[in-house]
Subunit: 970 residues, 2 copies
């Protein structure tokens, strides 16, 4: 009478090879047991996975071979292997600067944000009622940026300084009534910034001029066509220049002044907003975010009020909830690509939320005085170093500086660089005669003495370092205005207070630690701990992006292996890991296609066909790549309208550059026509771009290359387990067929890309290398079999839920066999008439059930798109289905008049504790019905911290920095 | 018009040396800023810290010199220095066994329990309503243990296997009506277990006989005096022996059968409960807890129902709350030392909760099938290894085995050990002819091949390993009964499910991440992240306790430095880090005193004077050390009754062994008489033992040695930042004056202690080394100045709160200047008459305010003892005071009749969400008053997850393992 599940030693044979290790990963990543899988297959009515796949994926694209990846490593093997790789990175002391410096990451922030699944598994805060914690944190980030830059408004991060500069150029370009086509870039900007900007300028036909901004005769040369100028403050050579007269001049010519800057320096320097800049941007990395060989870090972006509706990226604002309480939300979403599509200000979607949070926390932990003290010390050390270097007979090219010296050494740069390398030190080689040295908060006196040793000509006496007599920042640059005066920056300076603030915010945010986040198109799967552990190892975390190759051998192995594995998985011939998000991948892929056409003399090809169902980033990216977007219709059943496609392709046969398509489609279906569609495009001279957001439905079962795609981006933050971090980081590599490989993006500092490469699309050569171990580890631990099993489960889970819900909701799109892919859409439109209920009401009511809503009203208005992923267990799927079915019953109670149409448990949702326990209660439903519609909620419930947000109020009364503290206490 | 707090670069001079690093730690550890300190001094009415100290600490004990420790390291320096030390540990592959093996710690458990402040900063769950998460987890631990051992009941951990065996011996000793004085220990038990048991036996006059348990003639030799026997199953030599006939025989003689065992082996072997054992115990380390050079790990302890009231340690049980809902709590507390004092079953207080939680989570993650698979694989590898070794011509001494082989090599053990060391491998040297090899779940095939290589005589061919034909576990030992059938062990096998379960439990537990935990005598201060990070570094975590010294050089440096620093801090001449808790420190110190007396021929000295105000562990420890406890009275003002002390000391002049005293006193006062008291004791031939629980009030200001103490224990888990972990781990080192140094405890395997050492008091030579980096780091980062500043603040914070609360509550004890030390007691007794309110009602009501109660009814019944520690900010102290004052007003509303005496906001507290939103509400106060008595609670509130516990019900209906799942769903 032993229970079935119990197997004793003597009675059961071993399943696997008797000696094989047991800490295998697929069993942990994939959510359901064999028995549960069997039960789900039964519910769907298929006999096995094979039948499920056959009914789901068109026969003409199904792979005939198993995925050619090795078997998976166990979790222990993975950590050992990755440890070996990490040890091949040599972490020298890097004083290279160029926008990247060492930083001391406060341990309390490292452990409780970057290493905490409560923070890193959050989604972008589109459901504000269950995201108040990170919204507050991002508002802190914005406040810190507006304060330090002295600008009116700041967003909640961009991808990096290079692309932020490109975005600023585009604002300048579109700011006036008439487009102005010249953009001037000071030669003293970081080279990677200039290069990113040049790449981006091409798509828009902007003429970028590089020169000495203080000498250039703008009035004569561009009386009417100057969009703006970009300056770096302090400049890449360390100098601090006065741009106030310049600003006056540029403004008088109708141009914008854009300033790339450094938050640390701004604690001491007159901020750009005080000398006339219209836009300020930069990298917030040195505020407590590891170097990570180039990323991820959060770029900041701030501007004058008049540009706020043109400002790219996510913007957190203060609004109020249904009860009139203050509440945070994403503001002005009408600017974003998901609304404005090809007319959007930018294609940015995923940004760098997690890193922005880290930087904001760093500012909070130190407070204004702490930041000033750090900046002063950096300057004091730099200044003392400058004195010593001068005493040794060298000249420092820049008299005024904050943290960076350009040392003149006639024909001696290489020599010094070599001596430094021998002492495990990196300087910047500016040119043959110039060495750059940038100090940072991690530098100690001994480090400076070591630097001096390298420059010393005779045997150096380790004399004590002396502070210089006076600061090397001329008085006119000295900041006099306060910043970060809000209480949040002046309260949490002890570790205990900091820890509690972090946990307080976290307690207001729903994440994957609570329940499934079934967001269609977002693939919120497990971000496994073993994948996450290595990213904070010092060998990965503390490496400057521009170190010589031989110091980054570990990274090189990792990058090469990841590229190879992704090539196998997608069937492509080349991969670029440079793009920092899916949208950047799209942009990159389209630029590569453009370069390909051009290389063949085919330079009229600029039409991009995009189905109307496409994600907003697709048309936005196409526009940014300089293409004309031509929409392609869809059939009522969701399929591509093949007739329309063929007509358009033929019509634009001479100008057809590309067709962008998401596969399986954004409707969650493996369409049959896809191979045909690729053929049509190819026949008409176009290239096919696949948006790989839905790749999770394909791996091991079919490949984009075999289907006929020429390029595809992957979202490593969806399919390959990089966590969403509350809205970033992301990695959006592209894969391409062999004819496109030569065009993969290059980089001005570290060689990347093909021999006919387009310019860089990100500031760092390999984008965000510090998080690549995550995807690498996922692939290595899953192996070919594990990955294929994950895809099976992703399809199974979606179809299982679709079946369960189909008795209660209409499932919008399926294929001819009634199957969806890895996600599906349920129709909410009918309830508008019957009960006055819309998708948003169900989304909010789901919060009362402890769930994050599925994707709301995209790609079809007033629907919900559900994607379970393979990592969710059958139990969790059932719990979600039960909640949806219970909500359907609640809708019925409106339909049948038990609850009024305008004051019911759905329209009033979500219900906060505060509302539920208020003495007055005048609803047609009980408090208990509101709070605990399912029994399990009495013990397992995540509570929304505010009531439903008033979106209109927030956009009408835009407040995008921390409101005065009295407001909280009112 | 710049705000005062804002200092610009030009206007302020640098405060510190311009080059000094800024990531200094004291500013992060200590909670208040200079301005806040000033405000608190003002409130108290003293002009500076010096005056505060002068008014608080008697002049005759104040140190005249600054603490002679170096200045503090910054956080970055600390991590670097500790990294260097760690790198001196050489982590070989250790197959030494003896109760410690390698294990694969699941990453999800490592990161989210051991590395999570949400878990490690919890206190012991004495406030069950805000501790349901860890109570559930500990119940899982108990269930896992009872299931695997097949015993009736298990506790929620003991300190280690050695002391657990000693506890079992004591149960055997006290089980019968008449004491039986013989305890037999099988020679095949682990040597450190035997030694711990011998140490403990001495205090009780138990006669320990070591021999071959299967051959010994019990009937003839001990027909009436056999308390019990201890066997090891499997034995230390790896053999598996049949003890069923033995059990029958021992039972017939009236003795108890105690079995030290291995949970992993028990998944395959007939459990002790099925062949007759009365008690089963062991180390749960191999269930996912790092080796850590010996600890901390959780020992398990299970017994038959008849012993349950004698069982030592904490026991979680299922009861119900005020609303009749199921709720967990600590059961049968009447067994514990804080109630029974010298008559307690044991002195254990702090145990190993955090590690027990890890082991339980490991069992949950793997489930019964997973555990069996792991055990099978270990056995299969061991078996294959045995075959190879036999084929090479060696003999294996034990035919039957699970994971351990004893290989016979005539005169060749040293040679093999040497060869192994050369290959970075450790075996156990059993004797000159015998080598022990124990395999574990981390072993892979390649490891076994390497082991074979060492034994191979000729050049070895790396042939493939073959599984043996049959198991080396004879059929009669094969387990047939199921275990861990409860749903909790069969649900959370995917990482996502595991993660959510961990977070679900965590969400029910208040910890330092939420608010201050002002528990008098417990010193709940910051457990800083930088202190915690190193403990999971592999160089510290993965080291076996019995490796040769030259592999543990990093640990040796750490241990030596920590001992030296603690000696400086306390003024003592020698330190032993072996005791695993404060109570163990007490026991050790008293044993050392006893050995000292004996060494001088003074062997009648066995009286221990203990003030009536002492902590329960004091008399319990004295009793365990074989001493007779004589209580000393206290005056009404809380001071020692010096007259009584002198009388008793004189009366027992010839038998006086020791006086135990807590200083500052358990009443929170620096008594003036302490120097005098020490003199009196010394004059009468006694030694003075200081309970160092309150050392946080002394560091840098006075030292136990100067005061006149001979011995003192420190609680590293109080004063030196080791987190409480929800009830352990702890470290309770003792410091002693030079005359006692020779008696510090030794160890049978690794040399420790003095040349006249007492036996070991813990299984591992250095207790729990893996957590020593925490205290080491704290001292190194604080430096002498920082530590002294912390003490200042601890005194300041307590006196500030006492002043604020003194207008509302009576403060019980202060010194002649009206000052308390680092904690103080408020009197609740008056409210019993005026409002029917007792300390417990305030404790529970504080939960509604988001706070953990202060220490309740100890050392004075119906009082609350408040200890803020230095890490709390003034803001937090004020928030707590505000809550207490608000509660006082609520009491007034009962006193003045606004609320009834038996149904008011205090007696009904804590209020759960479920209660508050129930439709019916018939209280004299509103729902809002219950939930949000202060405005800040509407945004910042921790909710109790159950209503007030029904303690009596739980003890009457004792259930100490997971209740059937239907109960939850009823
Ligand atoms: C179909 C599709 N394409 C593109 C993107 C943009 O990717 P990213 O947010 O990484 O820029 C998304 C993001 O959700 C998407 O769902
Ligand atoms: C005064 C006093 N002595 C001894 C102890 C026992 O210490 P431990 O719990 O570490 O065994 C405590 C614990 O709270 C205590 O407060
Ligand atoms: O981020 C989204 O576009 O859903």
């Amino acid at each position: 009478n032993l229970p079935k599940t119990f197997r004793t030693f003597s009675s059961t044979p071993l399943k696997c090879d008797a000696f094989s290790p047991l800490d295998t990963f697929p069993q942990r990543h994939n959510g359901s047991s064999d028995a549960e899988i069997k039960a789900m297959l039964d519910t769907i009515g298929v006999k096995d996975m094979e039948e499920l796949v056959n009914k789901t994926i068109p026969a003409n694209i199904r792979s005939t071979q198993a995925l050619a990846l090795e078997g998976g490593l166990t979790e222990s093997e993975l950590l050992k292997r990755l440890g070996d790789i990490a040890s091949k990175n040599k972490v020298y002391k890097s004083y290279i600067g160029m926008g990247y410096t060492n930083t001391i990451v406060p341990s309390v922030i490292l452990r409780n944000i970057l290493e905490s699944p409560g923070w890193y598994t959050q989604y972008t805060p589109y459901q504000p009622e269950i995201s108040q914690g990170r919204l507050e944190s991002l508002l802190n980030f914005q406040t810190m940026v507006t304060d330090l830059t002295s600008m009116d408004i700041a967003n909640a991060s961009l991808l990096d300084e290079g692309t932020a500069a490109a975005e600023a150029m585009l604002i300048s370009f579109s700011a006036g009534k008439q487009k102005r086509h010249t953009f001037f870039v000071d030669e003293k900007c970081h080279p990677q910034t200039i290069a990113c900007l040049q790449t981006r300028a091409e798509g828009f036909g902007i003429n970028v001029i590089i020169g000495d901004v203080l000498k250039y005769e703008f009035e004569n040369k561009h009386p009417n066509d100057l969009a703006g100028v970009l300056v770096q403050y302090p400049a890449t050579d360390g100098s601090i220049n006065d741009y106030s007269d310049l600003s006056t001049k540029i403004h008088s010519l109708g141009g914008q002044v854009v300033c790339a800057t450094d938050l640390m320096a701004l604690s001491l320097l007159t901020p750009p907003g005080e000398w006339g800049a219209d836009i300020a941007l930069g990298n917030s990395q040195r505020f407590g975010v590891p170097l990570g060989y180039g990323g991820p870090h959060a770029a900041f972006f701030a501007c004058k009020d008049q540009h706020k509706r043109r400002m790219p990226g996510r913007l957190v604002g203060v609004s109020r909830d249904a009860n009139g309480n203050k509440a945070y939300r994403l503001s002005l979403q009408t600017r974003e690509q998901h609304i404005r599509r090809e007319k959007a200000t930018s294609n940015i979607c995923t940004a760098q939320a997690l890193l922005a949070n880290m930087s904001a926390m760093y500012a909070i932990y130190h407070g204004p005085e702490g930041i000033i003290a750090i900046a002063k010390r950096i300057h004091t050390l730099t200044n003392a170093l400058a004195e010593e270097i001068k005493q040794m007979g060298y000249s420092i090219k820049n008299d005024a500086f904050f943290d960076t010296l350009n040392v003149h050494i006639e024909n001696g740069a290489d020599d010094i660089i070599r001596k430094a390398a021998a002492a495990n030190i990196n300087f910047r080689k500016v040119d043959n005669n110039t060495v750059g040295i940038t100090l940072d908060e991690a530098v100690i006196k001994q480090d400076v003495l070591e630097i001096i040793q390298i420059f010393s000509k005779d045997s150096y006496k380790n004399s004590d370092l002396q502070p210089a007599n006076k600061a090397a920042i001329p008085q006119k640059f000295i900041r006099t205005s306060p910043f970060m005066q809000h209480q949040v920056f002046n309260s949490h300076h002890s570790e205990t207070e900091m820890l509690r603030y972090i946990y307080y915010l976290q307690s207001r945010d729903l994440s994957l630690v609570h329940s499934m986040i079934p967001l269609g198109s977002c693939t919120m799967k497990l971000n496994a701990t073993t994948e996450m552990i290595p990213i904070t190892w010092p060998e990965f975390a503390n490496m400057h992006p521009f170190v010589p190759d031989n110091q980054a051998e570990g990274y090189k192995i990792l990058i090469n292996e990841l590229e190879k594995d992704l090539a196998i998985i997608t069937g492509f011939d080349g991969i670029s890991l440079q793009p920092n998000s899916g949208a950047q991948g799209e942009y990159t892929g389209l630029r590569v296609i453009g370069a390909y056409h051009k290389s063949r003399g085919d330079d009229k090809r600029n039409v991009c066909l995009i189905p109307v169902s496409a994600h907003g980033t697709n048309p936005a990216s196409a526009a940014m790549a300089g293409m004309e977007v031509v929409p392609v219709k869809c059939e009522n059943n969701g399929d591509l309208d093949m007739k329309d496609l063929e007509e358009k392709a033929t019509k634009y046969k001479d100008s057809l550059a590309a067709f962008m398509v998401t596969y399986p489609s954004t409707f969650g279906v493996f369409e049959n026509g896809v191979v045909k569609a690729c053929e049509i495009i190819h026949q008409n001279g176009g290239q096919v771009y696949m948006d790989g957001a839905n790749l999770n439905a394909q791996i091991g079962l079919c490949t984009p290359a075999d289907i006929g795609m020429d390029v595809c981006h992957l979202n490593l933050h969806k399919t390959f387990c990089i966590p969403h971090g509350g809205g970033g980081p992301g990695v959006g590599p592209i894969g391409v067929k062999s004819h496109l490989v030569p065009f993969l993006p290059g980089h001005p500092v570290v060689k990347t890309g093909g021999d006919k490469c387009i310019g860089p699309v990100a500031a760092a050569p390999f984008g965000s290398p510090d998080i690549l171990p995550i995807s690498w580890a996922y692939i290595k631990m899953m192996g070919g079999k594990g990955l294929t099993a994950a895809t099976h489960l992703a399809l199974l889970n979606a179809n299982y839920m679709a079946i369960r819900l189909s008795n209660h909701y209409k499932i919008l799109f399926t294929n001819q066999n009634g199957m969806c892919a890895h996600e599906f859409i349920i129709d909410i439109r009918p309830f508008q008439k019957t009960a006055g209920i819309e998708a948003i009401d169900i989304a909010k009511r789901l919060q009362d059930y402890g769930f994050h809503s599925p994707t709301m009203s995209w790609p079809v208005p007033n629907t919900l798109m559900i994607e379970p992923t393979e990592s969710e267990s059958k139990a969790e799927l059932d719990r979600f289905c039960d909640a949806m079915i219970s909500i359907r019953e609640e809708i019925s109670s409106i339909e049948n008049g038990q609850q009024p149409i305008d004051n019911n448990v759905l329209t009033n949702s979500p219900h906060t504790i505060e509302t539920l326990i208020s003495t007055t209660w005048d609803k047609a439903y009980s408090r208990e019905q509101a709070a605990f519609p399912m029994k399990i909620l009495t013990t397992h419930k995540f509570w929304p911290s505010v009531g439903r947000l008033d979106d209109a109020f927030g956009d009408r009364n835009l407040i995008c920095s921390c409101p005065p503290i009295e407001d909280y206490l009112e």
